[in-house]
Every structure is written in structure tokens, then in C-alpha cells.
């Protein structure tokens, strides 16, 4: 299992290489600081045998640089044929309903499960 954490966040790439779980608050200062996380996300695209799942249900806060990181990942997934990408989100976390729809606009086949 690959793992990146900081003072306020914890990110894990599960053993199957197709599920990434995010927890906490991501407020890094720019794309340079987000690069290791984007690289970890891109590992899911190498052998996408199954659906790729990003579990954001416990990601309480994301700044705009983080939104840009997810946008870059979604655009890269969109531009590779046949990727099945799913986001798990929570109604209890206000930014999910407000901002994840923009990612769906970038990649119309993106599935967002808001519970």
C-alpha cells in the first residue's frame, strides 16, 4: 500500500492499485507540492483492469490548487480511452456537491456517488 500524509491529511493507494482514499484537509501551496499526490493518482491509470475509485468521503477541505490537481488527473483519465472513473463523495461535506460537478463537466463519463 502506498501512502502519503501530512499534518492535516492522509492518502492511501490500496493494494489493488485502483482505489485511492483521501482523508483530512488538503491546502498545499501549489502544483509543485501536489505533484507527489498527482503521481500517486496516475499510478491507477497504468493497468486499469477495474474501475478506478477515488474515495473522497472523508476529505473535508480542498483548496483551489487541489481542485486543479484533480482536474489534471480527470483530464488525463478522459484522454485515455476506456477508463472507468468513479468518485465517492459525501453530502455532509459541502465542497463535494459544490465543486465535483466541474470535474464531471471535464469528463462526462465520470461517475460521482454522493451519499
Amino acid at each position: 500500500m502506498k501512502h502519503i500524509n501530512g499534518e492535516s491529511f492522509d492518502i492511501r493507494l490500496e493494494e489493488d492499485n485502483s482505489t485511492v482514499c483521501f482523508k483530512g484537509a488538503l491546502r498545499l501551496s501549489g502544483m509543485e507540492d501536489y505533484a507527489p499526490i498527482l503521481d500517486l493518482l496516475k499510478e491507477t491509470l497504468i493497468h486499469p483492469d477495474a474501475s478506478i475509485v477515488l474515495d473522497l468521503r472523508e476529505l473535508d477541505f480542498l483548496n483551489s490548487s487541489g481542485i486543479t490537481m484533480f482536474s489534471r488527473f480527470v483530464i488525463e483519465a478522459r484522454d485515455r480511452a476506456g477508463i472507468d472513473l468513479r468518485f465517492l463523495a459525501s453530502e455532509a461535506v459541502p465542497w463535494h456537491a459544490r465543486s465535483l460537478k466541474n470535474l464531471q463537466r471535464l469528463m462526462p463519463s465520470l461517475s460521482i456517488c454522493l451519499t
Binding site: S29, G30, M31, F61, T68, R72, A92, N102, R105
Partner: protein
């Protein structure tokens, strides 16, 4: 002092509840003080909900408070990040953030020092944001960011405030009273309370 405003800067009447924080920008490098942006933004979000009227069921009031707390925290965090990043460090002007609550809206404003040359570029950028559709501009900006490996993200925070939070943006440029090459820029986000789900003050 010569001033210029663009967009909606909100009222700064001082009659509603307000709170101002000021930071000495020269005392610590940007990286080491970055975490304080989050602490300050969280504080503003928590602070403002104390003054919101509670109505309806406990669950509805809690949900509304959660939405407003988050919206203020997100907006304050983005405005502070921008103010810290773009502050002109050669000028001894404090970086400030101001929160004001009226019966129907919340205004969050951040101010920083800027050279006149940079201010002219920022004005052009502000006019570009005010003229376009924020949702479309955001999509175009993210497609552009994906094609380059540079820092990117220019304006994404401001665009999401408009497109995702229903905020109205405004800018005020004040020439320094003693030094004509320096300006203070104040970027404001006015959040109508009716744009917050379940929120009507």
C-alpha cells in the same frame, strides 16, 4: 488617496458584525507561514456562524451553519493564499483579511501590497473575470493547466468562488499616500446568504 474599484466590493459600513486580522508579511518566509492561512480561514468560518440567526429544526440549522462555515472558510483561505503569494515583499504594508456580516450577505476581503505595474495587470485580469462566464472560464483554465507543467491554477480560486459558491467579486486599488509606485489591492468576495443552500438570514 486615489482609489479605483471594479465589480462589487460589498459595503464596509462597520454597522454589522465584523472582524479584521492583519499580518506582518516580512516576519517569516511564505512556506513556514502557509499553515496559518488555514488556521485563520477556519477561525473566520467558525466565528461568523455565531452571529447567524437560528431558525427551523436543529438539523436544518446545523446543516445551514455547516454550509456557511465551509463557504466562508473556502473563500477566506483562497483570498489569503492569493494575498500571501502576490504580496510585494519590498513594501512594508500589512496583509489583512476582513469579514463583515449583514442581514443578507457576508463579505470577505483580503488586502496586500502590490507594485503599480503589477496592479495594472491585475486590473486587466479582474476585468476579464467580470466580463466572462465563470463556469466556462474555469473549464478553459483547467484544460490549459492540464497542458502545461507550470504553476498553473491562475484564477481558479476566484473562478470557483463565483461558479461554485455564488460569490460576487470586487477589487479596490488604493495608491499609497506617500509612495506613488505602491498600491494596496483589496479583493472582496460578497456571498449573498440566499446563495447558500438552506440559508436565509
Amino acid at each position: 488617496m486615489i482609489s479605483q474599484t471594479l465589480g462589487n466590493c460589498g459595503e464596509r459600513s462597520g454597522e454589522g458584525e465584523y472582524l479584521t486580522l492583519a499580518f506582518s508579511p516580512l516576519s517569516a518566509p511564505l512556506r513556514s507561514r502557509w499553515r496559518n492561512n488555514g488556521l485563520s480561514a477556519d477561525f473566520l468560518g467558525d466565528y461568523v456562524i455565531t452571529f447567524l440567526p437560528t431558525e427551523g429544526s436543529v438539523a436544518a440549522a446545523g446543516s445551514r451553519q455547516n454550509e456557511i462555515r465551509h463557504a466562508v472558510t473556502y473563500i477566506a483561505n483562497e483570498l489569503l493564499e492569493n494575498a500571501m503569494k502576490f504580496h510585494e515583499r519590498n513594501f512594508d504594508i500589512p496583509i489583512g483579511i476582513h469579514l463583515e456580516l449583514t442581514s443578507d450577505h457576508i463579505t470577505v476581503s483580503a488586502s496586500n501590497g502590490i507594485a503599480v505595474v503589477q496592479a495594472e495587470r491585475y486590473k486587466e485580469f479582474a476585468e476579464h473575470l467580470l466580463e466572462g462566464d465563470a463556469g466556462d472560464l474555469l473549464m478553459r483554465q483547467q484544460e490549459a493547466n492540464a497542458k502545461c507543467d507550470g504553476p498553473g491554477a491562475s484564477g481558479v480560486g476566484l473562478l470557483t468562488m463565483i461558479s461554485d459558491y455564488g460569490a460576487q467579486l470586487g477589487w479596490r486599488f488604493d495608491v499609497h499616500p506617500a509612495q506613488s509606485e505602491i498600491m494596496t489591492v483589496t479583493t472582496s468576495a460578497v456571498l449573498p446568504l440566499e446563495s447558500v443552500p438552506g440559508a436565509s438570514a
